[in-house]
Amino acid sequence: MAAVYRAAPAEALRIVPLDAFTAIYHRASGITHLVGPPVPEILTALGPDGLTLPALIARLGDTYDLLDADEAALGARLDELVAAGLVRTA
């Protein structure tokens, strides 16, 4: 079964949009992440319920104009977000 990716729970993060960049404070590690698109969009799309990678691509495609979405590239970004604690797998 494909892995489901969930955004970290709201209480785990402080998210402050600045401009094109968004500042995210990860409470557990005390680390600040300054992220650009599509990271905030990914977190919003995943939400607490989570999505599989193909479902995430479909959801992002519904909301934004995704030109030739690359599953491998998005998967790599998701893995980075998991390593940073901003996204969880289950």
């Binding site: 402080r14 402050v16 600045l18 401009d19 094109a20 960049f21 500042a23 005390g30 600040t32 300054l34």
Partner: protein, 286 residues
Amino acid sequence: MKHVFSVRIGPVGFRVGSDWRAPIRQLAALYAGYPQPEDGVPDFTVRLFAQRPWRRVIRPAVMIGGDFMIPDAAPLPLAQGLLAAEMAMNLQMALGQRRYLLLHASAVERDGRVLLMTGESGSGKSTLAALLSQRGWRLMGDEFALIDPVTGLAHAFPRLVSLKNAAIAVAEAAMPQARFGPLLEGTPKGAIRHLVPDAAAVAAMDMPGKPALLLFPRFGFAPDIRDVAPGEVFMRLTQASTNYVAMGERGFDALTRLVLSIPAQAIDYPDTKHALAQVEALWEAL
């Protein structure tokens, strides 16, 4: 320690102990108008001590220590003992301050609103703050701006203004009536001379102000002014803060609030005359 000096600078109390009388005497003279720490209890303790007992007298070299230390700090000659004391006091603030978010910035105030100027050594932030203090602005500090995470207000930290190299002659010419410390030549940062903040800066140092404008000055370039977007401001200020990481979520909240509440501009200037005109124009346009 044999010789001791205590002082309060803004909200921060210091106690400086020294193996030698000279640096303490200089500190006492230059900080003559300043109050004592609240309730006599300092926030930070600084020690100026000899590397070996005989180095008190033979080629005396000042080691700096205190509550917070860096392990590989090189000693300074006794003639630069005042600089050693100032560096040690800054170090305590940089490493130990937890009540306020510390920005490596100069700050001046007018009508209760604060202009913050941040940049690396040589950007001119100290010089501009000193010159503005002669033109109707209140000097709040040339090195650290203290941002209260609860109120968002900037608190003053008007320590001695550290003028370096070419800035020394500029300040001496602009402020012939001001009080200066001894000229310290051949320091790790070149020539240094301390300027005593004026009486108004000391008298009002307990009065915080609301941040209104942030500038990134850069000396030695053709005049230019550009807006700096919040994302870049945030990134530059995390680098310009010595205690951002240690402050945790309070630091994050204080910094994002500051970044989103005030405009920020980078100003390039070839000389202080241009810079002062740029500052006044940007302030008027707020």
